[in-house]
Assembly symmetry: C2
Homo-oligomer: 411 residues x 2
């Protein structure tokens, strides 16, 4: 299944009769849209000539100051000058890779890892080497071993890419105990850490772990985003970067887009100023916890033959299918049964992952989630009968990497 086929399939999966457990879209109906609408009106009426004009390449200073309030919740103390605003954190990933990675360089990433990051690394011809994670996040011993091997082979390792909190797609969180160990290992091998943290404030028990960046000012680039805690439609993310990298980021961003949208940046600054954004995040935590519960409950009821992670925040659970099932070849039949997911292969650079699926519970209501899992269970059971007869349900060339590029559906 090639990228174009995946696209065609997701076009079908976006039909209303399909329960999509595939996407990473936040549930925006919960936002105070009338209040936001009035805020936008006032912004353009009173500051329109600024909001509609070109801005600075680094991003609006007022917004950068407000971003300090957000990252302080995760223990990060920095200066507005340390922040570079980007067009979503996807652009940050693109710029960082553009700056640091030459073709053939190694990027170390968790196994599995965010599909959109893998697409960026691939587009710059990086060689992605995966390091296992477990229920406590990235495994320090495995990281040490991998970096040791790579050093012995003389490979040039440029970046360690990690999603420490409520991992996409694995749904696990790096423990506080492991965080300094990961940083120490990366530092010892001279590898810059990319901490991608869109979900960090969405812990279901109100917990917020200290960011890696709060433990290391120089060795970590922190990527933040308003896409999951407020709204992705403005496309506003940011990087907290050491001085030398920040200058390069600004130059690269100016070459790529001149400057981030003033309209979007001032809109978000006005939202942070006039709305109860912390209360809103609390509401989102409760909403997504309820949906996580619906997802996990439905898996236990309908798919006891599978295994899954139980995320304590974020949008995703990572499900291992019963033995012998191939998530890619099953997908067309799942869509026919009106349920969609992302096959695990999307989250590996090496074509593995076919025994897993990522299920997201962020967008559908609890009722729809339960119905989706019920449908998925029907498909899995039918596939298992195939496996019992033929030994496998796979039909595809295992060398074909199926998602060559991220799609907004997979964010």
């Amino acid at each position: 299944m090639r990228a174009s086929e995946i696209r065609a399939l997701f076009a079908v999966a976006n039909r209303p009769e399909v329960v999509s457990l595939a996407g990473g879209m936040p549930y925006l109906e919960g936002l105070p849209l009338d209040q936001i609408a009035d805020t936008m009106q006032r912004l353009v009426a009173t500051r329109g000539a600024t909001a509609l004009q070109y801005g600075s390449g680094q991003g609006d200073e007022t917004l950068r100051e407000k971003i300090l309030d957000v990252v302080r919740l995760e223990g990060i103390e920095c200066h507005p000058d340390d922040v570079v605003v980007t067009t979503g954190s996807q652009q940050a990933l693109d710029l960082v890779t553009r700056i640091f990675v030459d073709p053939g360089d190694v990027v170390v990433a968790e196994a599995p890892s965010y599909v959109g990051a893998l697409g960026v690394f691939r587009s710059y011809q990086a060689d992605v080497v995966h390091v296992p994670l477990d229920e406590h996040g990235l495994v320090p011993e495995a990281l040490e071993e991998t970096l040791g091997h790579l050093a012995a082979e003389g490979r040039r390792v440029k970046l360690l890419y990690t999603v420490p909190n409520f991992h996409n797609p694995a749904g696990v969180t790096l423990t506080a105990e492991r965080r300094p160990r990961i940083l120490e290992i990366a530092q010892r091998y001279g590898v810059l850490v990319i901490e991608d943290n869109p979900y960090g404030l969405l812990g279901f028990d109100g917990q917020t772990l200290p960011a890696l960046r709060s433990l290391d000012d120089e060795g970590v680039l922190y990527l933040g985003s308003f896409s999951k805690t407020f709204a992705p439609g403005y496309r506003v993310g940011w990087v907290v970067a050491p001085h030398a990298v920040r200058e390069k980021l600004v130059l690269a961003s100016e070459s790529a887009i001149l400057c981030p949208s003033n309209a979007s940046q001032l809109a978000i600054a006005a939202y942070l100023e006039t709305c109860d954004w912390k209360g809103q995040i609390k509401q989102f935590r409760e909403l997504y916890r309820e949906r996580r519960d619906a997802m996990i409950g439905a898996l236990a009821e309908h798919l006891p033959s599978a295994r899954w992670t139980v995320p304590d925040g974020g949008f995703y659970t990572w499900v291992q299918l019963p033995d012998g099932l191939d998530a890619r070849s099953m997908l067309p039949r799942a869509v026919t049964a009106r349920v969609a997911y992302v096959p695990g292969t999307a989250f590996y650079a090496d074509g593995t992952g076919s025994s897993h699926v990522r299920l997201s519970y962020c967008f559908p209501t609890p009722e729809r989630i339960r119905e989706g899992v019920r449908r998925l269970a029907g498909v899995v059971n039918a596939e298992q009968e195939l496996v019992e007869i033929f030994g496998t349900n796979a039909e595809l060339d295992p060398d074909v990497t199926d998602v060559e590029n991220p799609s907004p559906n997979l964010a």
Copy 2:
């Protein structure tokens, strides 16, 4: 003068006491901000859950349909599927270069050429070869000769980059007679044409020339923008591209930013729907014509020893300084005299252009433009005295290329 010095200088140049004839910022006070504010309010109140959500990588379909109405004014007939929305046309330049240009490939561009495009070409290690333009735009005979030489040398020429209308920085327009000749030559040498056209609707006599793309569906990528005819703060541009290129553009854009901002796109679609956008463009034409007149009149009065182009649209005039003057070394003294411009060297990939300056008349009022030219004339006269004594006013290593990256100030 390195990029960082230019930046420091422009930071000073942005102070209110300095008349900046350097920037390419449109004059937004003329927009109906109250009406736009109400439009934004309604958009978020009624369609907020869509406007604030992720969108498609190619761009919102409603906006793409409305873009057809815009490009039809320049004779382009195409389908919404042919349009890819980008984060300003700067992103389009970046994506097109990323797709087509390998290090060492040649990009042919006018002499002079848009600084932001040169920055992108440089960032992908393209080798920019300039072709002269005259008062009728890019010179076909010179293009033919250059492409012939390059072919004889076995060079791989990937793109011809051109701003046919109201050129940035030269202020000239490619005549209707030359357009098919340029296209024929490019086609014969198998070179894809990038038609960058942010100013095409801003002709001071209401004239609108047929776009190159209207004469050639397959060999031209057309880059459009709302930044000069409406507002740059939304960062919305677009490409009209042949089918095969369009698919690549969408994939590259998804890798770079996932998707363009829905908030920005729906805002612009709502503006086009509810406001008199054609009437607004007519107002802008009149406003900028008045400022062009102020600029040209002041040059004739205060700087008769210089030569300049008389643009019949757009934002810029291209001024050749009196013999012996160096625009780069003069700039710090100009800023001290509270006037700023962009030295001609910014618009060449090869370090030439020091005898020219770009003056823009888009943002300051006519009074400020006249005052700015008066101040500039004072600086030029003082420099000429230096030249008479020392033979030159240049102080710099001529190998230093002074603007390594575009800045929003230079858009």
